[in-house]
Amino acid sequence: MDYMLQTGSGKQNAGKYTAIAAAVCIVLQLVLAPHLGFLSGFINFSLLFAAFVVMCSQETVSIFLAFFAGLFYDLCASEPLGLMALCLCVAAFVYRLLRLGTQSFTSALLYLDFLWMAALVLLLWYIALGLLGLAQSVPALIINSFLPAFLVNALCFCPFWYVLSRLNSQNRRLNIGPRSGAPDLK
């Protein structure tokens, strides 16, 4: 799917979807995220946005977008500036390395990719909090905060997953040019 969006019209679509996702996530992070949660886990719309944009377009800019999404989250929260930005750009980079050259995506694969990205980001986040002395017990934090946060973010990714699946199926039907992965037979 990622290569579909490398063409001219594809890039415009990626830009459009990225802008819409950014606007939606910014508003939801400010309006809803501080007030809605499950046990000790709160929705991280920066994580959802970063995962969406990284899976939507594998341009290098997606890593920068993930970085800025993390910065936005850090400004909203009271944790050190740059911490979530670091976690998100690590996850974005790892995803790019793993999925570079992947030709096709299924819906299940998209969701599984988000799950491990979310787990990686949240684990890095809580371990960093413990190392920086901002949390007393990392194991307790992982059990009491990581699991609820992971579950609630996995649930909230569903609308983004639906959009990604639709984009994926549209791009398969279009089957555009040489960048689809098919060999150039000239």
């Binding site: 890593i63 909203c76 690590v90």
Partner: protein, 301 residues
């Protein structure tokens, strides 16, 4: 051969992409680590504080909107949390609740005291009184005397004969002054006699107490007109009580054909149990006393 060329193109594209990704990643990591380090080492760093402050200002309307929208849903989450509350947490909450109730009662008491003291201060300012504040620490227990005891005495500059007032109105006069306490005879006491006047008509009289605690304004001729509801204030004659201090309100006026004086019953503003802090008027200025023409007027009545 074409197939090999296509594959090598793809590989070179992948390598370029990988290199791009690596560069971007290292750049973002570097900036993140710098930000984290500066924020941890210098929590009051001016640029970060200004950025956070500006961000908070810009996003504050969104946060307020979110609080309004989600307020109805928070109750539902509390219900869910309460359903899983343990016995230990319930016991802890009950004891905390009891402590908070006691603290609340103390704070309520302090708030009421502060309000009373503020009213006393306003009274002192309004009448430009040179006064000392004191607390009521005891009341008379026998039926013959109507007195209170306050917690200030000669050590605080008080002496017998000083007038005592509350924020509501005149209370009485110090009759006994010890080192750290004083006894105040209330105006309702049978031995009490206060020079008073009707505020609106300036009709002078003597306000006297009684065994029953009833206040009566005497020495008012029947030629004068006094109405129920008229306000009675101190006249300033005699040099004991300052002029103009509110005392009470006329509740009954009776005129006996065989008498030359009206029987005027006054209800005091400062009821015997309505004050806990009082002001002792330590000295009277010229303006607190009656003028010479007012004295003449009284003598002519």
């Amino acid at each position: 051969m074409a197939l090999k060329k296509g594959t090598s193109l793809k590989l070179s594209r992948d390598n370029a992409s990988r290199a791009d990704a690596l560069r971007s990643f290292f750049l973002c990591c570097f900036f993140s680590l710098v930000l984290i380090t500066v924020d941890m080492m210098y929590p009051d760093f001016v640029a970060f504080s200004a950025l956070r402050s500006a961000f908070a200002t810009v996003t504050q309307p969104f946060l307020a909107l979110g609080a309004t929208i989600t307020a109805p849903f928070k109750g539902l989450s509390n219900v869910a949390a309460n359903l899983t509350a343990s016995e230990e947490s319930l016991t802890e909450l009950e004891s905390e609740n009891a402590l908070l109730e006691a603290l609340n009662a103390e704070l309520e008491e302090s708030a009421q005291e502060a309000e009373r003291l503020r009213e006393l201060l306003e009274l002192s300012d309004a009448y430009n009184l040179q006064a000392t504040g004191a607390r009521v620490i005891a009341r008379s227990t026998d039926a013959w005397q109507d007195t209170i005891t306050i917690d200030k005495g000669s050590s605080s500059g008080l002496s017998a004969g000083m007038a005592v007032t509350s924020s509501a109105g005149l209370v009485g006069q110090i009759i006994e002054c010890n080192l750290t306490s004083s006894v105040v005879r209330l105006i309702s006491d049978a031995s009490s006699s206060v020079s008073a006047m009707i505020q609106s008509s300036r009709i002078q009289g003597m306000l006297e107490g009684s065994i029953t605690g009833e206040l009566t304004l005497t020495q008012v001729s029947t030629v004068n007109t006094v109405a129920v509801g008229d306000v009675v204030v101190s006249s300033g004659l005699g040099g004991v009580y300052p002029k103009g201090l509110p005392i009470g309100r006329v509740i009954e006026v009776q005129s006996d054909s065989s008498s030359l004086e009206l029987e005027i019953v006054v209800s005091p503003y400062a009821g015997s149990g309505s004050y806990e802090e009082v002001l002792v008027i330590s000295s009277l200025t010229e303006e607190d006393l009656a003028y010479g023409d007012e004295v003449v007027f009284f003598e002519s009545q």
